[in-house]
């Protein structure tokens, strides 16, 4: 089975990004017209129940990605801790437990880079608060393959290392305040 999502939106964040992500998700319309994939750095040692809690709270599918899962419209996916998450050309997810990248597993770079090459202009990516530079190179790759890139305004980020390195690496990124990011997601993206 291959995925049906023609468009994908990625959100990458680390320390200090989870609250904003929760706010974004609460404002999402039911019909998205794209797949939303969220990747945050978290430890595999503590089995976290982010997905189940959010799913219950939002009353919609929030899925921890399993290997070879097809990518489908209107579903919110989370990268599982302890694995890299990659996108296959047939629009399925693939997992990889190879070496850490930027001291991270999952690495935002790995997801952004592989997704950009498959979805190209149909991939948009957001880089949020975080304490290391993971994601910046991935964001540049999304840009290079014709996708739209967005960065949380460093002043609005709890920890600005990640947004700042994103700004440094890319040329065409839109810098957005928290409220602008939330508003962006509250509309149906099909018009953009």
């Amino acid at each position: 089975m291959t995925g049906n999502a023609d468009k994908i939106v990625l959100i990458g964040g680390s320390a200090g990004s989870l609250l904003l992500i929760a706010e974004i998700l609460e404002q999402l319309p039911v019909r998205l017209g794209y797949a939303l994939c969220i990747i945050i750095h978290r430890s595999p040692t503590f089995s976290s129940e982010i997905e189940q809690n959010l799913s219950k709270k939002l009353n919609r599918p929030v899925v921890a990605v399993l290997d070879k899962m097809p990518i489908e419209n209107d579903i919110i996916y989370f990268a599982p801790p302890g694995y890299h998450l990659l996108i296959e050309p047939d629009k399925t997810f693939a997992l990889d437990s190879s070496e850490h990248v930027n001291y991270s597993k999952p690495s935002i770079d790995v997801l952004f880079e592989t997704c950009a090459q498959v979805y190209q202009t149909n991939c948009s990516a957001f880089l949020l608060s975080g304490a290391n530079t993971d994601g910046a190179h991935g964001l540049k790759t999304v840009e290079d393959f014709g996708g739209k890139t967005f960065i949380q305004k460093p002043e609005d980020a709890l920890i600005d290392t990640m947004p700042l390195s994103g700004i440094q690496e890319t040329h065409t990124s839109t810098i957005l305040k928290n409220q602008e990011i939330i508003r962006y997601f509250s509309y149906n993206l099909r018009s953009t």
Binding site: V65, K68, S97, D144
Partner: protein, 278 residues
Amino acid sequence: MVRVTHNNDFISFTDLDEIVYLLKNISEFDLSGYSKSSLKRRIERFLIVEKMDLVDLKNAILNIDGFENYFVQELVVNVTEMFRDPEFFKQLKAKTFPYLETYPQLRLWSAGCATGEEAYSLAILLKENNLLERSFLYGTDVSLKALDFARKGVYPLTKMKSYTDNFNKSGLTSEFSSHYTAMYDAAIINNEYRNKILFSTHNLVSDNVFNEFQLILCRNVMIYFDKELQERVLNLFYQSLALFGFLCLGTKESLYGHPIKSKFKIVDSTLNIYQKIK
């Protein structure tokens, strides 16, 4: 407007297909069933480390004797841990050992064992439950280099530290340090474990059944394969299992969506432990 850029960090999926095709034609290695994005990343990484470009790589595959062995060994992922997912080892003991205890002799297979940590973890768990005497373990992998490492059973102490954390959460009662001898900056796994495991080459893509087992561990190996190849490997495991034998997959893998699922009973749905029932 689409900005057209040439990003030199990446090879294209067409390039990937060409390399896989070349390799398949000149060697026994068929990587066509591997997950594409992951394999492509490994090749890109290989090119950077070896300071090669695509032309160099194709040349080397065609013209350098033995290059394909080296290349494939660098591509396969050998990252593993002892007692990875401690909860798995707890449940493995609780849910499969009562069955395994009823056999006078046990054969167990760690498929895609890489550097051997999983096989040694299993051996230690068996020992603590008085099952090691009657057990024999096979550890197989496609990488000769990884197998050499596994046979030695020597691991850096820095790694043993994090393995100790895993071990302590696995519900075992012994001291982790009683299973190895530390010397300088390395630890060697006790002889009794090394003598119980045969590490040998086996390619899940092309090789067949070689024995009958009561338990097969293959965690985080099939994630590198596409659905069709996963199908083949699952069939191979099915044929290699004794009736009521167990198959254990990684925590993010499952038999879901595979036709062979109907021949297995789910023993643990989160940790993906299955039992062959027909």
